[in-house]
Symmetry: C2
Amino acid sequence: MLEVLYTYFERSFPLTEGDKSLIQSVVLMRSLKRSEFLVRQGEVARHGAFVTKGILRSYVIDNRGREHIIQFAPENWWISDKNGMSEGTPSSFFIDAVEDSDIILIDMKGHETLLEKLKGYAESFRAGIQRRAIAKDHRIVSSLTASAEERYVDFLETYPSIAQRVPQHMLASYLGITPETVSRIRKQASLKK
Amino acid sequence: MLEVLYTYFERSFPLTEGDKSLIQSVVLMRSLKRSEFLVRQGEVARHGAFVTKGILRSYVIDNRGREHIIQFAPENWWISDKNGMSEGTPSSFFIDAVEDSDIILIDMKGHETLLEKLKGYAESFRAGIQRRAIAKDHRIVSSLTASAEERYVDFLETYPSIAQRVPQHMLASYLGITPETVSRIRKQASLKK
DNA sequence: TTTCGTTCTTGATCTACATCAATGGGTACG
DNA sequence: CGTACCCATTGATGTAGATCAAGAACGAAA
């Protein structure tokens, strides 16, 4: 499992054997069954999870009891309980597995160790944060102004692999539309061709 | 003007006189008239701006020619062309002044200098990034699911000072609704009281 | 003062999407 | 094997908010 993480890092910067040992010393490995929780409301574990197999999702439940998916994390993605809306809001924050998944956990302390000792990590981390901020701005604008169909098509183009692996009602939840509407959009799209 | 920035930092960590000189050596000060641009499409200046007086806004123009405001930045806020959607998208990214404003500019190199030499800056910067990520998640969920009225009320509660200083059509643009709808919401709200 | 630009208001219509409700298919489990 | 549960589909209806259109209020410029 660790190999997947090494390879991920090596796309940004080279790793020595020593680096690999360092990484190994600050992470934990874990498996999750489908629909098993990594983070439940309240237990703010303050760590990041890197997915090596499967897909996780983070979501909130608003005060009307509805689920809203914040993020999907398939292989080679990070997902974290530090982001999300764990603060202030009356809603609850969850992370669970969409499929059976394998993940690598790193806590705040381990993260700081890598920031300090692993050359290239800090820069790679910063770039990741930035990429994500841009993606969020994109999603904000798109959710404020694009039609349901446009958002659906946009998602398919941006994350084709995720779209195929996730149940449609979750996709609907991510896009902020109802499952019925997703179904109708798909039907129309298939008729057009 | 620099005093405002010093005070801002000192809410997070103390500054020596030497720190202040260091800061002064890496920033630039500038004034903007109402509706004057800080960043126009294309000229990606790659720096951050700290507002000491006035309000700036960042926005994109989508392929249908509509403006969408990403962020307002009043006094004591940062605004940056590094975030935003300057990447990949066919839309254009702008920053301009809503009111006559004074700002302090810092470029990437200056930022790195402070990260390295100004104790407390890195942590404060990281915390800011995180706060903003949380705010963005909040805005995403809210734009996907809350009604126009709920989003309006939410904005008033979250940013009362901004709401009073910004023209309503900009507020509408930020919220992703039409100016007409904002007007009707306000009317209804006033009738309820 | 008049003129002009900007912002806000109000009304009439239209439409995308939610909601409600029923049905059918797939898969797990007794 | 049938029963049950989850998920996707399809139709009928309702509604929030966009769009179109026409003023009204305000300040700035001359």
